[in-house]
């Protein structure tokens, strides 16, 4: 946590309401997101119990598994979920746009929109990942045949869970994290993982302080947990009897009794899911109210790219993702995630002065006024005469950069500024920084209009750079050295699920 965020938390305590820690929204909010709230059965390994899912606030679809330990019912749930999710994904496969690829030598197509799935919290993302794992290897033939939609659902859930790990991606988001990215509450990060309590701080009920509203929100009777884990008291006092009654009704062979028992069970789980459903849409509206950051559409375009590519893979009959990545794949993935993380951090700072303020506080950036400018300065010390304007920026920020450092300004991408002198003035507490500019000045020996900051301009300079980072190089899969386990093994590559995979035990 940065000092500024900690300070915002302190302010939230004093004010009694969460405080903004960004000036813009740093993620894409889709026009038609799919909200998905899964519940799982306590004690079991990712056995679905129920879910509320849908794209319209007043039309959630309830899925229930009356006997979660029953294998057929589990896959029945998967098939029902697929009935909602797959058409939703398909609905984005209409209009495409052309994108230049391979330095303009080729043209690629991508969809102009993409799906966005919202779950309440990071455990919800864990559920998506595990449910993807448990369904993508199923087969439509053999011992335990499932509907064709089930393994397809598994591939898509796995895809979404993978995207959720990618910093800056908006295809699968946890609401608590999306909100926590923009607001600091007066409670701890641990407590922020509770969606109702987090929203209580951001948007407290009338007359209540955030702290008091959060205490109310923590009462599982009023605000049941947002899943996937259920409230133990609910399990013991409502769910267990309802399940037992259902079991008995099934045993009795009386269809009327069975459907009545199912109705009771459905009402019970709905009571647990309904309040979270409301909270999810409240979260969506709160996020929508924030002005969007200028680099968000670029990151969403990347999501659309990846979505488009994966649809091609699935259409081509691509095999399910492997259980584990082989050494090279794992290293490549890690490298991709690191690059994404870094560029996401830089982009947020470039988009948002409040995020940049974190870097100003630590001396990696400063904001100041141009107090001198020599726009036409020519450097003739080398073989060729080159245009190297100099400006002096005077700032009250802490300046920790030293001569020789290369800086960038978010408002002037493509221009580098090399630090020539740093002169602090202890009397005024201000610092003069002389910068030599290169790039983005036009082609002649006199600068293009507007390409050199003028005296009086207010600018931010930082060591953070948004420039392209070249991808690392990795050996091909076949050439994976033995020190890294050699070429990938069967379970580390996508392959057709074997009969054994599909038979995998469920209990």
């Amino acid at each position: 946590m940065s000092t500024l965020t900690a300070l915002a938390r302190a302010e939230a305590v004093a004010v009694g309401q969460a405080q903004r820690i960004t000036t813009v929204r740093h993620l894409h909010v889709a026009d038609r997101p799919l909200v998905f709230i899964p519940l799982s059965m306590a004690g079991e390994a990712n056995a679905p119990l129920a879910a509320l899912v849908g794209t319209v606030p007043d039309d959630p679809r309830l899925l229930v598994v009356p006997q979660p330990r029953n294998r057929d019912q589990r896959f029945g749930f998967a098939a029902e979920l697929a009935e909602v999710l797959l058409p939703y994904l398909d609905s984005f496969r209409g209009v495409t746009e052309a994108v230049a690829a391979n330095r303009g030598k080729e043209v690629r197509y991508r969809y102009v929109d993409a799906p966005q799935v919202l779950v309440p919290n990071s455990a919800g993302i864990g559920f998506v990942r595990m449910f993807g794992r448990s369904t993508r290897f199923r087969r439509t033939d053999g011992d335990y045949p499932v509907q064709p939609s089930v393994p397809l659902l598994g591939q898509w859930l796995t895809f979404l869970a993978d995207r959720a790990e990618h910093p800056g991606s908006g295809m699968l988001l946890a609401m608590t994290e999306a909100l926590g990215l923009h607001w600091a509450t007066g409670q701890s990060a641990l407590e922020d993982a509770h969606l109702a309590a987090l929203l209580a701080w951001i948007d407290p009920a009338d007359g209540l302080s955030g702290a008091d509203a959060a205490v109310v929100a923590e009462d599982p009777l009023r605000w049941p947990p947002a899943g996937p884990a259920t409230d133990p008291t609910f399990d013991n006092e409502m769910l267990a009897p309802a399940m037992a009654a259902y079991q008995e009704a099934v045993g009795s062979g009386d269809e009327v009794r069975r459907s009545r028992a199912r109705g009771v069970l459905e009402e019970a789980v709905r009571s647990q899911l309904g309040p979270t459903w409301e909270l999810m849409w409240r979260g969506v509206s709160l996020l929508r109210e924030l002005p969007v950051g200028s680099r968000v559409p670029g990151r969403w375009a990347e999501d659309r790219d990846v979505f488009s590519t994966f649809t091609l893979y699935v259409d081509g009959g691509g095999y399910p993702q492997p259980r584990r990545d082989g050494a090279v794949n794992a290293a490549q993935r890690l490298h991709r995630l690191e690059r994404a993380l870094q560029s996401y951090a830089v982009q947020r700072a470039y988009d948002d002065p409040l995020v940049m303020a974190d870097h100003r506080l630590t001396g990696e950036a400063f904001v100041g006024e141009v107090t001198l400018a020599d726009a036409h300065r020519i450097d003739d010390s080398g073989k060729r005469r080159v245009l190297r304007p100099r400006i002096q920026v005077t700032t009250g920020d802490v300046v920790l950069v030293t001569a020789g450092a290369v800086l960038h300004s978010p408002s002037r991408p493509g221009q580098k500024a090399r630090v020539v002198f740093v002169t602090p003035d202890p009397a005024s507490g201000r610092t003069d920084v002389v910068l030599e500019l290169s790039g983005g000045l036009g082609r002649s020996l006199s600068p293009a209009p507007g390409s050199v900051p003028e005296v009086g301009d207010r600018l931010c300079y930082t060591t953070l750079s948004d420039s392209f980072m070249p991808p690392g190089e990795f050996p091909s899969r076949e050439e994976t050295p033995w020190t890294h386990g050699g070429p990938p093994k069967a379970y580390e590559e996508p392959v057709e699920p074997s009969v054994d995979d599909a038979r995998e035990e469920w209990s």
Binding site: M1, S2, T3, L4, T5, A6, L7, A8, R9, A10, E11, V13, A14, R20, T23, M41, A42, G43, E44, A45, N46, A47, M130, R133, S134, G186, Q187, S188, A189, L190, E191, A211, P220, T230, D231, P232, T233, D235, N236, L239, A240, P291, R323, R324, P353, L354, A357, R360, L361, D397, V398, E504, E505, W506, S507
Partner: protein
């Protein structure tokens, strides 16, 4: 009361008995000891735990109930899995141990030390003595001394007090080396399990390793014959089939040792507390504690706490202590507190940030940083509001 008398002076034992009042002492388990190490600096917790006060009941009675309920489904599944692994003389477990540890276990003797028929009312001391005798025979390599010991009762000194542990574990002995076996019902899918659950299991197992080592050392054996690799048995993938993984708990052992060692000795803690301090929850004829909740709250407030958000997942008194800690930077989490320069109160941090308070000498550095942060935040927010409006 004899259960707390070992290694403690008579007066300390008496004081602890007074603190606990007429109620029966609450027994420790590996979970509570593991939790103890999560907040070793908290005197309130140390005093209550050492005296064996039932914190769960206490918290409920003063209207800050803990939320550590367990779902019947989870308990049932856990019990079923454990029973399955231990069925037929732990046949499945032995098979796994052979495969995972590569041990050529010829035949196996399985002793359940939980209760001997007709002796259900055994005291902890008697059970401990029996477990100890059996395990020591095995350590000495005596013939027919057994291989698997289920539910041995172990003892551990915590803050100068002997506490007994009721592990639902198996100690496994082969050629004079012991392994602790923990059976847990969370799944290991494709070789990976929930890291939080694994680390909780690891620290609990480490408590058992430590207790067994202590027992062996007291009897003159080499404590290192208890392996630092514990065997964790869990369901594999989405099935009921058990799988075993070895977990190295050396790190957890080091943490435990350090934190148990660091826990202020209970005598020292008691010395600064009022002599009549008491958390008696003894009920009257109607089953309601005789003392008023307010009196218990007053008593709690005489013992220093050290609340951190982590308490919410480990200590029964967390909701009470959280309410008490409102306005403290510690309630915002360790890293927030550090970023606020370690300043204790939120209002102080804000006062320094706004320049309304003059920093004390040791606050000067923090105050400069906070003032800078506040200036930046204000500058950006004002500009943003101007741009929006």
């Amino acid at each position: 009361m004899t259960s707390i008398s070992m290694g403690t002076s008579r007066t300390t034992a008496e004081r602890l008995a007074t603190i606990r009042g007429g109620a029966k002492p609450k027994r420790h388990n590996a979970r509570t000891i593991a939790a103890l190490t999560r907040n070793p600096g908290c005197a309130r917790r140390a005093v209550l735990d050492t005296a064996g006060v039932d914190k769960q009941r206490l918290a409920a009675y003063i209207d800050f109930p803990a939320r550590f309920g367990q779902s019947g489904f989870a308990i049932a599944r856990g019990n079923a899995f454990e029973a399955q692994v231990k069925a037929s003389g732990a046949a499945e477990l032995v098979k796994l141990l052979r495969e995972r540890l590569g041990l050529p276990i010829p035949e196996v003797a399985y002793d359940d030390l939980e209760t001997v028929t007709g002796r259900e009312k055994e005291t902890a001391e008697v059970r401990y003595a029996r477990s100890r005798a059996l395990l020591l025979r095995a350590a000495a390599g005596e013939d027919g001394a057994g291989t698997l010991f289920d539910h041995p009762l172990l003892g551990l000194d915590v803050a100068g007090q002997r506490v007994y542990l009721e592990p639902d574990l198996i100690a496994f002995q082969h050629e004079g080396r012991f392994h602790v076996v923990e059976i847990k019902s969370f799944a290991v899918v494709d070789g990976q399990a929930d890291p939080g659950k694994v680390s909780a299991a690891a620290i609990q197992s480490a408590v058992y390793v430590l207790a067994m080592r202590q027992m062996l050392a007291e009897a003159g054996h080499d404590p290192e014959i208890v392996a630092h690799d514990v065997v964790l048995v869990c369901p594999r993938d989405f099935s009921n089939q058990p799988t075993a993984v070895l977990v190295d708990v050396r790190k957890q052992l080091a943490v435990l040792r350090r934190q148990l060692g660091r826990m202020t000795k209970v005598e020292e803690m008691l010395a600064v507390l009022p002599p009549n301090l008491c958390f008696d929850l003894a009920p009257d004829a109607d089953g309601v504690p005789t003392r008023a909740p307010e009196a218990l709250v007053d008593a709690l407030q005489t013992v220093d706490a050290r609340y951190a958000p982590d308490c919410l997942s480990v200590c029964e008194l967390a909701y009470f202590c959280r309410a008490e800690a409102r306005g403290c930077t510690a309630a915002l989490g360790t890293s927030a507190r550090e970023e606020l320069g370690g300043i204790e109160r939120v209002e102080t941090a804000l006062g320094l940030a706004k320049g309304e308070l003059t920093p004390a000498d040791d606050q000067a550095e923090a105050a400069t940083l906070l003032r800078n942060a506040a200036r930046l935040r204000a500058e950006v927010l004002v500009a943003a509001a101007g741009a929006a409006g």
